[in-house]
Structures are given as structure tokens and as C-alpha cells.
Subunit: 354 residues, 2 copies
DNA sequence: CTGAAAGCGCTAACAT
DNA sequence: ATGTTAGCGCTTTCAG
């Protein structure tokens, strides 16, 4: 920049003004400066800029479980859109459900002085984050509440799960299995809760023999689905707790040529073209990312207020043209998006099973 | 940091040494410093660090078309893994095939002084990048070559497409349609080329009536597939140029209850469970991300040499258990991964159709 | 083993 | 409309 100033015969500050489109520079001077910038291939250094000017880096950190999972990559896209609209950039990282990685990532992001943090917290024990918060880095939790009282954007896990099971029951199923993720994961527990609630309201006994928590990938879900198909009184339907588990279960069902109705949490591409008809608890991951990023942007701007709690709706969609079509196919069932002010539903530290 | 130094009764430099785990600090002194750091909630500032120390930011920029597309999000994951292993972070952005957005993103990333750039270039006209290159930011192109002579990692588009069409021909199809993306996109042109080559070697005439370039999303692909099904002498098979087009075509075929064999470029989750049997030209997007990131890391470390050209293999996989199964189902067909040293195949500036 | 001084590239706050 | 001075938080260089 010094070189540019010299080349254009002006002071540093004038170059700075031109670079930042500030007012108060004569057009011809500005032109001379711009020429020098082009000639010398100058590029302003945002590091120095941020260091000096209040510390805004116009970047936010995003910590998710795995970018390669469509659910999270759609979230990332929503975040990116909001951040990008304000000229910001997103630095993202996958934690793979590992608290240690999560911690390292957050640490790195804070050291890099991101303006704010968007986190899908894995597990609990975010006490260490108090430091970052105290240091003034605002934070928003997505998809799951962390054990810190900050803004949180969730989807209606319990409601969505309830609708899913109600749907199956409405179609005559009395023996509905549940296939869930690790019990340490908030959404897995919530969905289990919705499942249990729907059974209860239908007067169907909760049978632990056909409730399997603890599967975390496609392969595991497949194995457990195989087991479920082999129990003495096998289920006529299954509710799967997320996109990965749905995939695993579907594959197992197909391989066994079993006739089992399935509703899965999370929508997925081409669900409508599967051989087996499937119903999904759909929601908008990108919207979740957008909402969270918007809240974060507000906090970064310094807007106060109590921690926001946003609960995004789900809707049951019957995909394909199979036997399960019926009430709810395509239309909106879940609650409208609404902002609550109370604590987030469910105790993230509670036990895994009812 | 000054405060920490004061609190621990040492100098700035000593604190710096402790923070960076440098040798030459007495254990008890280091302990005192660490205590002060913890008490004051100090966090080192990487902005200042990078500014002073040579400028390494330990971050790389990734510009892709759309994180929400599984193909690119898998690339992103691969990149993340390599960067993360070295303690680096990834700043990514979606260009949406818009050269202007691409340019802005790259500009932002360079101003933020990323150590290197990974770009899926949309279109051409990267002359402006000379500046960044001259400024010393290494760059690697992924998935498509840019019009700059830098390291490039591609998949074997022509070969994969050729195998796809050969597979269909081997199953008796003589009337094979092609559904491709915008002709301005390198991979779309290359896949068209492979399609044309396979037809030629089979002695089948290239019929423009059943070759449709220019579709860029699921809906568009669906419409064009409808048209293809309605031509006087409709195709008995179709080769679709990417995951989005495959989805659109499949949906249209199903809706029309048509009996059309399909091979799609890009593998996708649950392809094996579709009602219609599908064969895919599979490859490893995450691997592409990893390879590119590794090459970039080498450049960042300052290793020289001529621009690398990596061509990643594809393999034809018959998904599902449909009528199309036959040679190649599951086994490896494409060439092994190999490094070329000549120019990348195909002229990215060439015309869209043969 | 530890410390003092200089300065990375930029901008905020004052001059002029 | 333009320039000067100081300093963001750190590391590098050179001295103890």
C-alpha cells in the first residue's frame, strides 16, 4: 500500500480511502490511485484491516456434523446465502459427532476471530465455551440445543415424530418399530419421545423389543432392521429417525423382501421413485441455516434481547404412489414456524430412553 | 496478551513462547503464564499472528458450484479432511455457476489471505486471476479445467460416458438419447464427447434429435425427458449427464410409465432401491477433493514442478437388480487413477456440440 | 532462559 | 480534499 501511495504520489490514507470507496477524494486523484493499484497488482489485506478496525472479520464459523450429509450441507447452503448477502464468508468444519473435534474447531474459529459461531453441538459440556462468549463471540445453536443458554434453532422433532407414527397407526399399523440414532443425540431422543407419545395416545403399548436406539450409520441401521424383521412378532411398520437410518432400513427391507411400511425423518431426493413407497417427515434444512444465520447476524450487530428459541415446522409427505397414501399426503401438517420464548423442549442431558 | 504478561510478571515474548509451545521457558514460569492465561480468558489472535509471521493463515478457500449438491459437498468433505489434518480450516463458497459470484468469492478469499485456492471454475475468463497468482496464492482447479495453466484434478468424463453408452449398446440399445448440462460447462461437453465416441465406435448414427444439452436442473431435465419420450422414434435408453439430470429424467420416465433404460453420470444414495433399475457412472468426489487439497498443500509448502494433471477413474455400477444387469455390474471398469503430464483433454473453450 | 524494540499492513483520530 | 500520527496484537530480531 505504501508502494501504491508512492506511485500515485499521495499519502497512505488517500489510498485507503480509495480502496474503501470512502468519500472525500477528488475523482482525478482517485483515478490515479486506482491506476497505481492496477499496475502494481495491489490487493488490500483484510487481516490487517480487521486487526485495526474494531476486529470485524466478516466471517462466521459453522460447525456441523458432516458436510457430506445432505441434511447438513443444505444447512450450510442456507447459512452461506445469508452470510454472503452481507459480504461475509463462512468457515465450516465437520465434527463427526466428536466433542473433541468440535472443541478444536470452535477454538480455531475463535482464534481466527470469526464474528460469530453457528454450532450443531454434539453432546454436552460446552462450559468451555463460556470463555468465547465472554470474549464476545456470539453463538447460535442449530438442530440441537447445547447446554448453554444461547439462541437456538430447532425443528419440531417431537411433533414430526408424532405425526409420523400417527400416520402409520391411522393406516392400521399397531406394531410400529422405531430405529433411532445414538441416545446421546438430542434429536434422536426427541424423536423417540414423539414416537412414544403417539403410541400412548393411540393406546398401543410401548414395546422395547422393537425400539432400537444407537445406530449411527447406514450399515448399522441395516443390521438392526434385519434383527427387527426376525423378532418373534415382527413389526408391520417402522419409523426411522433420520436420513441415514432410513436408507439402511430400506435396503434391509428390500433385501429381505419384507413387507414393512416405513416413515422416515428427513426428506431425501428421489424418495418418490423408490420401489418401496415411503412417507417422510420433511423439513427445510436450508431454512434452518438461514434462520440461524439471521439471528447470528443480529447478535453480531449488537442487538440484545433474551435468547431466541425457534422451532421450525415439519410436514409429513407421502412419497411415491404406494399403499400408504392417505391423509396428509403432501399437505402441511406440522405447526407453523413459531418463536417460543421459554426453554427448549426436552432435557438434553436426560436419559436416552423413556 | 500484555495483561497476561503483567499478571504473570513476565514479558510479552515469554507469553508468546508459552502460547506457541516454544522451547526455552522454565516449566514453572510457563505454568505461571498458563495460569494467567486461564484466569484472564486470554485467546491468541490469529489475525495478528498471520499478519506478523510471514502471512500463513492456515486456511484455504474452496469455490464450488453449490454445497447443497451432494457431488460438491462430498468434495468439500474431502478437502476439509486434508486441510484439517494439517490444522487448517476451509472457507467455502457457492458460485452457482455465475462467473461474477465466482470472481467476488475468489477476491474475498484472497483479500483474506487464504494460503491457497481450490476452484471449480465456471466458464472461462480467469485472466483476472493472474493477479492473485502473481501475488503468490497457489490455486488448483477441480472437476473442470480453468483457462489458466495450473494444477488440475478431473475425473475421466469422456471415458465414463463412453462406458455408459457402451453398456447400453451391449444390452442391445441402438437408440440412446443424451441429456446434458449447459454446453458452457466443461464436464457436460466432455460427457457428450464420450457419448458421441461410443456411438461412433458402435456404428450408430449420432442423431441430434435425441441429444439435448442445456438443462441445468431437475425440473428442466424432466421437461426435456418428456419431449424425448414424445419424438417420432423415441429412444429406448438415455444417458444422463449428471446427478440432477438423472433425477429429473427418472421422474419423467416414471410419470410417463415409459420403459426406458437409463445410465446416469454420478452415483447417488439409494440408487439401488429405485423402482426403475439404474446404472451409474460412479466416481469418488471426496477423493477428488482430497487429491486437490493435497496438491495445493504441496504448492503452499513451496514445492515446484510443472502443473499437475490428475485424471480420476470412473466405474460403471449397475444399481438395483433390474433388466440392465450384465457386464460390468459392480466391478471396476474405468482406468486406474493416473497422473498425466500433458494438457487436459478437451478444449474448454470449444463449441458445445460436435 | 528471558526481555526490549521494531514493525507486519492497515485505519481511527486528528491535523492541515 | 488530503496528510500525519499512533497503534491493533502479535512475532521477529537481537540483547542480555
Amino acid at each position: 500500500m505504501r508502494e501504491v501511495a508512492a506511485a500515485a504520489g499521495v499519502s497512505l490514507k488517500t489510498v485507503s480511502r480509495v480502496v474503501n470507496d470512502e468519500a472525500g477524494v477528488r475523482p482525478d486523484t482517485a483515478e490515479r490511485v486506482r491506476a497505481a493499484i492496477a499496475r502494481l497488482g495491489f490487493q488490500r489485506n483484510d487481516l490487517a484491516r480487521s486487526l485495526r478496525g474494531g476486529g470485524r472479520t466478516h466471517s462466521i464459523g459453522l460447525v456441523i456434523k458432516d458436510v457430506a450429509n445432505p441434511f447438513y450441507s443444505q444447512i450450510a447452503r442456507g447459512v452461506e446465502d445469508v452470510a454472503g448477502a452481507g459480504g461475509g464468508l463462512v468457515i465450516s468444519g465437520s465434527s463427526d459427532e466428536d466433542p473433541e473435534r468440535e472443541r478444536r474447531l470452535i477454538r480455531s474459529l475463535c482464534e481466527r476471530r470469526v464474528d460469530g459461531l453457528l454450532v450443531v453441538p454434539c453432546g454436552t459440556g460446552h462450559g468451555y465455551l463460556e470463555t468465547e462468549l465472554a470474549l464476545g463471540t456470539p453463538m447460535v445453536f442449530l438442530d440441537r440445543p447445547g447446554d448453554l443458554d444461547v439462541d437456538t434453532v430447532l425443528i419440531d422433532n417431537v411433533g414430526g415424530a408424532r405425526e409420523a407414527v400417527r400416520h402409520l397407526v391411522a393406516h392400521g399399523h399397531r406394531r410400529v418399530a422405531f430405529l433411532g440414532d445414538l441416545p446421546k443425540i438430542f434429536t434422536a431422543r426427541e424423536r423417540l419421545r414423539g414416537y412414544a407419545e403417539a403410541l400412548e395416545e393411540s393406546g398401543i403399548a410401548y414395546d422395547p423389543a422393537i425400539v432400537r436406539m444407537g445406530q449411527h450409520d447406514v450399515a448399522g441401521a441395516g443390521h438392526v432392521m434385519d434383527e427387527l424383521l426376525a423378532v418373534p412378532d415382527p413389526p408391520s411398520a417402522v419409523f426411522t429417525g433420520n436420513n441415514l437410518l432410513t436408507a439402511g432400513a430400506l435396503r434391509a427391507i428390500r433385501a429381505a423382501r419384507a413387507r414393512v411400511a416405513l416413515v422416515g425423518f428427513d426428506d431425501f431426493e428421489l424418495a418418490d421413485l423408490l420401489a418401496t413407497p415411503v412417507t417422510v417427515v420433511a423439513h427445510e434444512p436450508a431454512d434452518m441455516g438461514r434462520r440461524a444465520a439471521e439471528i447470528l447476524a443480529r447478535r453480531i450487530r449488537g442487538e440484545g434481547g433474551p435468547p431466541a428459541r425457534v422451532l421450525l415446522p415439519t410436514r409429513l409427505i407421502v412419497r411415491g404412489s404406494g399403499e400408504l397414501s392417505g391423509p396428509g399426503s403432501g399437505e402441511f401438517i406440522g405447526p407453523e414456524a413459531n418463536e417460543l420464548s421459554g426453554p427448549v423442549a426436552g432435557d438434553p442431558n436426560g436419559p436416552g430412553c423413556p
